[in-house]
């Protein structure tokens, strides 16, 4: 058994505990320790990516209890892909946090590491109830992070976020309980086997619990009827936290791909294709609604939050095509949109700091300091987010549309994606010209003392370099995502790996 598989879960947990213990005694240790933990995670995940590159599926049985009796952690290509995206995002977000954001409240680094603990665990676990537990861990850490820094509007947004997610957790438990009640299994591979041979009288119950789970994941991913919590929450969170939360909606998308590829996938017999009629139309509607929101937003942070909603729409649209090319396009688009929206959140903060009273509101105001650098970066990010050539957003959309060419709903998909592209372009062009061109007077005084420009821009430039890497290495990365998609859509590989792992010591 390869102990590397549990390292992405243990590293942030141990780092979080250590930070909690040391935090009071020597505060100067916090930042280096947090950085070391994230760098170790990047190293570990790279090793895991290398180990799963050839299609191997690593199964780690906790306490050596073989599946389906114990809890297993499973590393396949998909899990490794999401882990590396999380770790890289965490590195650059931390780089932004240490410029002062981590001092505005207590225990930032502890919560940050615990958030990574929950995220990594959710990507790795092969057990449905364990997935619930990791969801709760990442949510509890995110509640703390969201309230970091305080302020009445943040508390109000936090209250909504917490209540909505608690309701989601309750529904998750109802769904898991029903599945256990019918099939007596919680391990996802075991469930997949049992669901495929469900007796006719159990099929309606299995369908009900599967759709209930879909509702929960749609809530986490901010799919159309359940996206209302997202804009207020992300717009009121601190820049660092909002940038980290760029990965949170992707957890929901990942769970949809995992659970509905594995348990309710093509080989699930009576419940195969359970969410197919729902996912695609909802994703299209989410895409359009998100961009209409972005168009109507009164502030840059809120606009970015709506762009996150729209990106979830594109992502789930790609997954909803339910074919290798579509899922591969989605998995290529996923890191792109995560990094791009995170960079935009960080840039929005840098802009807001320089506008004094106007903050990030989209009103004409005094010119901002360093407008050349900020404007240039805004332009590049806007090109990436709107999906214009030459950056990876364009490649992602192109792959998505090519995958949809022979889909029965092609006309709808084509119309929605192209209209969405236009709306995104209009929204970002309007924002850019308002912020940078329509200056009323010489630069306003910054509301807070500013850190050195290059240092402040370093995380944003780093995230943009990652996007550039995605573009330049596009060929080999698309090859990789295609391999991931092929593996995800063959659930038998996963089931065999998990169910026959018990014999190996």
């Amino acid at each position: 058994m390869n102990h590397l598989a549990i390292a992405p879960v243990l590293t942030p947990l141990l780092a979080g505990i250590l930070l909690l213990l040391l935090g009071g005694a020597c505060p100067s240790m916090r930042r280096p320790l947090s950085f070391i933990a994230v760098v170790i995670q990047i190293g570990v995940v790279l090793a895991l990516m290398a180990a799963t590159h050839d299609g191997a599926i690593l199964v780690y049985a906790l306490g050596h209890w073989p599946a389906p009796f114990g809890i297993v952690l499973v590393v396949d290509r998909l899990a490794a892909w999401l882990l590396i995206i999380t770790a890289l995002l965490a590195f650059f977000v931390l780089l932004h946090a240490v410029q002062g954001d981590d001092r505005t409240g207590q225990h930032f680094h502890v919560l940050f590491q615990l958030q990574l603990f929950g995220l990594n665990g959710a990507f790795l676990t092969g057990d449905l109830f364990n997935l619930f537990v990791f969801f709760e861990i990442l949510l509890l850490a995110s509640y703390g992070l969201l309230l970091h820094g305080g302020g009445p509007w943040r508390v109000r947004a936090g209250l909504h976020f917490v209540v909505v997610n608690l309701l989601g957790s309750t529904l998750f438990l109802f769904a898991v309980g029903t599945l256990y009640g019918i099939f007596g299994a919680l391990n996802m591979a075991d469930l997949a086997q049992k669901v495929a041979v469900a007796s006719p009288e159990n099929v309606p119950l299995a369908r009900a619990s599967g759709l209930l789970l879909f509702g929960v994941f749609a809530l986490k991913a901010a799919l159309l009827p359940f996206y209302l919590w997202l804009p207020a929450t992300y717009a009121h969170a601190g820049a660092t936290v909002a940038a980290l939360f760029a990965i949170m909606t992707k957890v929901g998308a990942y769970c949809i791909l995992r659970v509905y590829g594995l348990i309710f996938g093509a080989s699930a017999g009576p419940v195969a294709g359970l969410i197919e009629p729902w996912l695609l139309p909802l994703a299209l509607a989410t895409l359009i609604v998100g961009l209409l929101g972005a168009l109507a937003s009164g502030g840059l942070r809120q606009q970015t939050a709506y762009l996150v909603v729209a990106s979830v729409g594109s992502l789930l649209l790609a997954f909803g095509l339910n074919r290798v090319a579509g899922v591969a396009a989605g998995l290529y688009y996923l890191p792109h949109t995560t990094f791009a929206t995170a960079a935009l959140f960080l840039l929005a903060d840098a802009i807001a700091r320089r506008r004094g009273e106007s903050d990030d509101r989209l009103d004409p105001a005094a010119a901002i300091a360093d407008a050349g650098v900020l404007g240039g970066l805004f332009f590049i990010i806007a090109v990436a987010v709107a999906g214009l050539p030459p950056l990876s957003g364009f490649l992602g959309k192109f792959l998505l549309l090519r995958a949809a060419l022979d889909h029965p709903l092609l006309s709808w998909i084509m119309t929605a994606v192209l209209i969405a592209g236009l709306l995104g372009l209009i929204a970002l062009a309007r924002t850019g010209s308002l912020l940078f061109f329509r200056a009323l007077s010489p630069p306003a005084k910054a509301s807070k003392p500013l850190p050195a420009l290059l240092l402040e821009m370093a995380p944003i430039i780093g995230l943009l370099l990652l996007i550039l890497g995605l573009t330049v290495a596009g060929g080999s990365i698309v090859e990789q995502t295609r391999a991931i998609a092929a593996q995800v859509l063959q659930p038998q590989l996963y089931i065999n790996a998990v169910m026959h792992s018990g014999a190996t010591p």
């Binding site: 709760e136 508390v155 109000r156 917490v162 209540v163 309750t170 109802f174 898991v176 309980g177 009640g181």
Partner: protein, 109 residues
């Protein structure tokens, strides 16, 4: 017994949903608590209802109760308890910062 359990879960859920939809934070927190009680009972009942059966191995036992839902429900109770404590503190903080206990932070008209 089945009917009684079903009724209890149903009534708890109905109360929970009603209270969660109220406009002030205290009923919302109470509603969430009711919902978590309902789901805990539901999880417990998913191991089928048995009376007086052991959940761990006992040479004299003729039959067993399913131990897995008991473990699940323990986990769910602990998590639910922590979340309730958190949301109460958050509601108190919102009351202090916003000056009223409406979930949207505005006084009733």
């Amino acid at each position: 017994m089945e009917l009684l359990i079903v009724l209890i879960i149903g009534v708890l859920t109905a109360c929970g949903v009603y209270l969660t939809l109220r406009g002030r934070t205290f009923p919302v927190v109470l509603g969430l608590t009711f919902l978590s009680y309902a789901v805990n009972l539901f999880l417990f009942a998913m191991g089928r209802l048995t009376v007086g059966q052991p959940a761990i191995i006992d040479p004299r036992a003729a039959a067993y109760a399913d131990p897995v839902p008991q473990a699940l429900v323990l986990t769910a109770i602990v998590i639910g308890f922590a979340m309730t404590a958190f949301v109460i503190v958050l509601a108190l903080k919102a009351r202090a910062e916003l000056g009223n206990d409406h979930v949207d932070g505005r006084p009733a008209p």
